[in-house]
Symmetry: C2
């Protein structure tokens, strides 16, 4: 994409309304614009990142055997009355009356709706387990929306639901999501730590939040230092017993702010890490809380009717865009991990308008595109300093810098955004580095 044709309205000034770094950088990089309080439009650069994260989340849900559906944003109030949550939910739920005076609502989550779909379709234990997910916009009418897309009112969430014949089977489904979440965060370049959590308005018996460590995180967390070095490692077979992996990731102390335990922390001594964290996922096992009022039963092996055991599993997709930035930026701007970067390379023409520079850049641009490399070409007739600043701001992993002096000497400059190293090398060497 040529920058002269790309709709990327960057800002020079730091917007005064933005309190956290991800919000500031997303506004400055032209990724988002506020539509109204806590509601944002995604401009092309931001939309590409959102899509990349969406794709990784989907791939990991598919890999664990979860099937994608799509439920609507607007739900009937009657369904929530049946579960008892219509009154429980409070003013965070956006309530709507349609033209026929029917009570509707903008879904903040979908336990009731998926349970109704399940109950109308699945009749036998032979068709279990069922694992279903969707990625859809949700609305929670926060009193004070803030921090940009980190705590917006309209937000994109992946929510999944499991239906099992027994508590043991439900635990197996829970473990699959637990492990797939760790994989998802690893692919996003995030260090996520599972922590025991309260179940809140979703309800249930067992629950974990996943928090990522970021200096600018929203809340304080404490954990054993070993968590910072833990990785899932090799490929996962989701048909295996995953309990050992879950045990490994829950054996040591890790606590959100409201769950901290002074005695446990004192016992850890030098092994204790206190850091800032951002919640990026929450999973629940809630048994028959919804299957009972909504009549989600199947016939069991002996012919008797059995209420299904359920769980739900959420990842904030739009929130993750901000979380990745909180975890990966510097004073000059965003530093995208390769997996979610909106473009792989930024090509900087230091002297747009100069015939040799234009010709060289046009050729390089075509070569990169032909090799399937997503490249943003800064072909603007602007001073070099502004180009460097914008390219650092938007945080593409690589910058390929072409200037008249280098061309005369047969070299180009390659900069790695993360490490900051700049290197002069031949064009061939630079291209082979970028396509490696």
């Amino acid at each position: 994409m040529r920058l002269t044709r790309y709709f990327m309205p960057t800002l020079k000034e730091t917007p005064s309304e933005a309190q956290v770094v991800s919000h500031r950088l997303m506004l400055r990089a032209g990724m988002i614009r506020q539509a109204s309080a806590g509601i944002y439009s995604w401009l092309p650069l931001g939309f590409k990142v959102l899509e990349n994260i969406d794709r990784i989340v989907r791939e990991e849900q598919d890999a664990m055997g979860c099937q994608q559906v799509l439920m609507p944003t607007i739900q009937s109030a009657d369904l929530w009355r049946a579960s008892g949550r219509y009154d429980d939910y409070g003013p965070e739920m956006l309530r709507i009356t349609d033209r026929h005076d029917r009570d509707m609502l903008y879904g903040p989550t979908n336990e009731e709706q998926i349970t109704e779909i399940f109950a109308g379709s699945v009749k036998s234990y032979r068709d279990l387990p069922q694992l279903l997910y969707h990625i859809q916009w949700k609305f929670r009418d926060e009193v004070r929306p803030r921090f940009g897309v980190m705590r917006g009112r309209e937000f994109l969430m992946k929510d999944a639901y499991s239906f099992d014949i027994s508590k043991d089977e439900a635990r197996r489904s829970y473990n699959k999501f637990f492990v797939s979440y760790l994989r998802t965060y690893e692919r996003l370049g995030l260090k996520a730590i599972p922590m025991a959590a309260d179940t809140g308005p979703i309800g249930g018996d067992m629950s974990h939040e996943f928090l990522i460590v970021a200096d600018t995180g929203e809340s304080e967390i404490a954990c054993h230092k070993d968590f910072l070095g833990m990785n899932l490692g090799a490929d996962i077979d989701y048909d295996d017993n995953l309990q050992p992996i879950v045990d490994n990731f829950t054996a040591k102390y890790a606590a959100t702010d409201d769950k901290r335990d002074e005695a446990a922390e004192a016992a850890l001594g030098d092994d204790l890490v206190v850091a800032r964290g951002i919640e990026v996922g929450h999973i629940f096992n809630f048994g028959t809380k919804y299957s009972e009022p909504l009549g989600a039963k199947v016939s069991g092996p002996d012919g008797e009717e059995v209420l299904v055991e359920m769980g739900s599993y959420g990842i904030g997709v739009s929130r993750l865009v901000a979380a990745v930035i909180e975890a990966s930026h510097d004073d000059n701007g965003i530093i995208w991990p390769e997996s979610v970067a909106p473009f792989h390379v930024g090509l900087i023409n230091l002297k747009a308008g100069d015939a040799d520079c234009d010709k060289a850049c046009d050729d390089i641009y075509k070569t990169l595109k032909d090799q399937g490399i997503d490249v943003l070409y800064d072909d603007r007739e602007t001073r070099a300093g502004a180009k460097f600043a914008d390219m650092d701001l938007i945080g593409l992993p690589w910058q390929l810098i072409i200037g008249p002096r280098g061309l005369k000497n047969g070299v180009v400059e390659l900069k790695n955004r993360k490490g900051g190293e700049r290197e002069e090398l031949s064009l061939e060497a630079a291209l082979s580095r970028l396509t490696a």
Copy 2:
């Protein structure tokens, strides 16, 4: 995907509430379930088709140089008051009050919102034209929602917007969308005819609807018979002057029900075709209708401020799923065009549980998947008749039928859903046909 693991709750009975064939077939094939009046959940099979259509629409928008953004579903009423449409729109607009008593609405379209984004970002004629689109759920509170996703209340729409410095340039943008729409429908296997249209609540000077011909269409249309044989043909260069193509597709008589002209039709004689049609797209050129009240100006070549000339361009993405079915089905079910089919092949194991059949089918299933062919494997222990009926119902382009007798003779059966031909041939020949 193995059918025993796939969430595809087909129905044997024809649902009594469904009046049109696409609605009946989508319910029966387990593609959708009604959530409430005019609001649907998309189950895995339906979601795959929706995604395929979404992808084709995106590819064609990208190909013409339109950039993807994503605006939220909930908009501020103030923005619509500024354009004057808040009062004009009537009860079809879903109006909402948030917890702070602010007036909001669920967007039925996005002219105001995109104009606000443009006005806050683009300042010079040098940055024109700007062509932006998004694909987002919309809500129109129809008095009598019906015909399933054909006339639902919550629906997925691609809407695009153009911003130009002059009427001539705006016409060039309009022509790009006109041509890209024809390409989009062709790729979906649809015969679409552009017809001059009223501008309705969007407003403007020039407008075309695109109607596809389907025996079960919602309204009567009339046109010169030449339209039924017209194709765009070769590749389009969107930088060319597209006026000759637009002229070619608008030169002859074509009229929606409310625009028909008795005299013109009489003059056509045997060249007149009267048929049923379904509206699948609508494009508008509306000049400064929104740029004026919302202050969308750029500095022109002479330094003076110029109001931008705008257009908007809509395709009903969820409606197209139904429209494709209306245009392509028979008494037994859906007949998907290859481009949007949820799977390319249905593999039918005639005797699931039989060791030889299971082994052969497992091998074929793996071979097809390894070659990147999307296959739905009916591995259920059910009678053959039910399998044939379900496979015809869901309408995959090819059926590969494996039975014990054929295996003994070294043959399998290949059925083309569209033509209905069944052919016995060697497995190798069948596979090479499917991967051609």
